[in-house]
């Protein structure tokens, strides 16, 4: 009798267990209606919900990059995350918990070889711009991460689409405008236009307003004839950072010291056990020393803006010099925006902070001489105003027309660099243009390259400030351009 009840009990237990298992619903949608460009960052919008409270892990795999988030799901509540990812044709989004079967969605992202024109207009009029691939957008297709704007090369948005953007979308759009993104606003609300004009980088030339779609296309065409300051490449950054020598020098010293000791041992001792012991001990000592002498991380920040603008755009690079084979976990700097890996081929895992909607930690493998870097970009408030007047006898009067004092820096005019002393608000100094110097250092060279011929520029190397952080070597520059007098 009792034996007969066993299977029934087991079956009941199984049913109870199945009932207690949460069911996770997962949906994933790419930004920009599923379009991007090869090698450009984009974003996936993920929606997660569960029928009972559970803790879930979300993994978004794009190429060699993985973004992971730990989430607390509550019944009846949809958790929505906009995860920034590297460009990849296939993105695997999966979610699972210890007590629920894993769910997986594959997201396909089309990679356009042609430049992309994003068009968010409610009328549905056809838009064609020569050489561009047009992507039709609704408000929800626009990303919430500023880095995802790298996917499109130009944007036309009308007032209803702008009005339908949420706060995070507007923030990302403003950051894109500050970074000289080409945006044409079709009959925008005057308030929105005013805000975007104030934020627009590159002297506000990148943000345009148009009354008709035909005007918008003409404006974009004429804007494309002007090249705005492009993003700085990693190769140029290496010149600014001057990395790698510390590690290489240390390895050279270790190798030389070992060979000297081994040579002496061969000459003096000539005993086989010693000859075996010396390289064995040296191997252990070298590996221990490599572990012990971790050089500091380097942070390079290059900001540039126009005199009188409210914001300057910045690009930052955090360089992690590798010494040993191993695994490293580093915090993503919270004070810098739009963190991402600088090299898409670099395998990296990010931890995504779902509460703050940003990347929190980066995990990657290291090895000797390998420099892994994280890239950041965004905008910072700019308070410096430079006024330059031409005087007779090849003189320039440089005046601090802003409200804050300047440190000493360089004035770059006519291909020459001139020292500018520290100036308080309203102070001025006279520069003799013929007494300039040919500066060949990396920051001055970079500043010259990024200053248009019809402009002059001031370059300041910023005070590192937060000197308490001894594990990071900081180098910061601010380039401010003004019209040539």
């Amino acid at each position: 009798m009792l034996r007969g009840l066993w299977p029934l009990g087991l079956a009941l237990c199984a049913v109870t267990d199945a009932i207690a298992q949460p069911r996770i619903d997962l949906a994933a949608t790419p930004a920009w209606n599923g379009w991007t460009r090869p090698g450009r960052a984009t974003e996936v919008d993920v929606r997660l919900s569960a029928d009972i409270a559970t803790r879930a892990t979300l993994d978004v795999v794009a190429g060699r990059q993985v973004v992971r988030a730990e989430l607390d799901l509550a019944p009846g509540r949809i958790v929505r995350l906009q995860v920034p990812i590297d460009s990849s044709e296939e993105v695997a989004v999966s979610a699972g918990s210890p007590v629920a079967p894993p769910q997986r969605r594959d997201v396909r992202i089309a990679q356009s070889e042609s430049p992309l024109l994003g068009v968010g207009i409610v009328t549905g009029d056809p838009v064609y711009l020569e050489g561009f691939h047009t992507v039709r957008l609704v408000a929800d297709d626009l990303p919430r991460n500023a880095s995802a704007y790298a996917s499109v090369d130009a944007l036309i948005l009308d007032a209803p689409t702008l009005g339908a953007l949420d706060r995070r979308q507007l923030g990302a759009l403003l950051a894109h405008a500050a970074e000289c993104g080409r945006i044409v606003l079709l009959n925008p609300d005057p308030g929105v236009r005013h805000v975007l004009d104030g934020m627009g980088g590159c002297g506000g030339r990148a943000v345009m307003g148009a009354a008709t779609l035909a005007d918008a296309k003409e404006m974009l065409k004429s804007s494309l004839a002007t090249s705005f300051a492009p993003a700085i490449s990693l190769v140029n950054i290496r010149e600014l950072a001057q990395p790698g020598r510390v590690t290489w020098n240390r390895v050279l010293v270790l190798v030389a010291a070992y060979f000297a000791i081994a040579g002496l041992a061969l000459m003096l001792v000539r005993s086989v056990p010693v000859l075996l012991l010396v390289p064995a001990l040296a191997t252990v000592a070298i590996l221990v020393l490599l572990h012990a002498m971790q050089p500091p991380t380097q942070l390079v920040v290059w900001s540039e803006g126009e005199s009188g603008a409210q914001f300057a755009r910045y690009q930052a690079w955090q360089l992690f010099p590798g010494l040993v084979r191993g695994h490293t976990r580093v915090p993503v700097l919270p004070q810098l925006a739009s963190a991402r890996t600088c090299e898409p081929g670099q395998p990296m895992r990010f931890d995504f902070d779902a509460d703050r909607g940003r990347l929190a930690f980066a995990d990657f493998d290291t090895r000797l001489f390998r420099q892994v870097s994280l890239c950041y970009s965004g905008m910072v408030p700019l308070e410096r105003v430079i006024a330059i007047e031409a005087r007779p006898d090849a003189l320039l009067n440089v005046r601090n027309a802003g409200r804050t004092a300047w440190p000493s820096g360089l004035l770059l005019a006519g291909g020459l660099a001139h020292d500018v002393p520290a100036l308080g608000p309203g102070d001025s100094t006279i520069i003799r243009t013929e007494r300039g110097k040919q500066r060949r250092d990396a920051p001055a060279r970079m500043a010259m390259e990024r200053t248009q011929a019809d402009r002059v520029a001031a370059l300041w190397e910023s005070d590192p400030g937060d000197a308490a952080d001894v594990t990071t070597e900081r180098k910061e520059w601010l380039l401010l351009t003004a019209p040539r007098p």
Partner: protein, 213 residues
């Protein structure tokens, strides 16, 4: 070869034994005269009379060769790493090449020296020489592995293979000596076998089936 040295049984001026080297003239001073056999007709391994100074000097050439190889490869690797760092390219490829070169060069040198050393001085001295040859590169191997993407298991296995070779190859020389019963023939045969093994290793290194580090 002994043919180029003093006649069998002769001593250099002063009656001192000449230093025996693996690469130069080999004295057979410690050997019985050619043709003479110990009781029982078997040839004993040369012990060099237990003279430790001379033994050490015999161990020195392979160790010096190993050190020279390690220095050469280390210089090349450190230089190529500097170039890679300056140009912003991946230094791992140079490190992988250094690992492969170190293994191949030591393997070939081991083949050429150990068989011959085994024929001349017996297994013990041959194995010691082989160890001296391969061990001095270990710190460079460790550094190059740290900079490469090579698997640790593969690198360790490669080093173990070299260690096994340093123990096994002198046995071939010893076998040749016992089989041929004359040192000069054994040395010639050992040199030929060692060269053939080194050439085979070189050819095999180009094969995709050779799992070099």
């Amino acid at each position: 070869m002994s043919a180029a040295g003093p006649s069998q049984g002769a001593r250099p001026p002063g009656g001192e034994r000449r230093e025996a080297t693996l690469g130069g003239n080999h004295t057979t001073a410690a050997e019985p005269p050619q043709g003479a056999r110990p009781p029982g007709g078997e040839r004993r391994e040369a012990t060099l009379g237990g003279n430790h100074a001379i033994e050490a000097q015999i161990d020195l050439p392979p160790a010096m060769t190993g050190l020279a190889l390690a220095i050469a490869v280390a210089l090349w690797w450190v230089g190529s790493s500097r170039l890679a760092l300056d140009h912003g390219t991946d230094a791992a490829r140079g490190a992988a090449d250094a690992l492969k070169t170190l293994w191949l060069v030591r393997g070939m040198a081991l083949a050429m020296l150990s068989v011959r050393a085994g024929a001349l001085y017996g297994w013990r001295r041959g194995a010691k020489g082989g160890l001296g040859l391969i061990s001095l590169s270990w710190p460079v191997v460790a550094l190059a592995w740290s900079a490469s993407a090579a698997s640790l298991t593969l690198v360790v296995l490669a080093e173990l293979l070299l260690l096994a070779g340093s123990a096994a190859l002198p046995l071939i020389g010893l076998f040749l000596r016992r089989w041929l019963r004359r040192v000069d023939f054994a040395v010639m045969a050992g040199t030929a076998v060692g060269t053939a093994l080194a050439a085979a290793l070189w050819v095999a290194s180009g094969s995709t089936y050779m799992p070099l580090p």
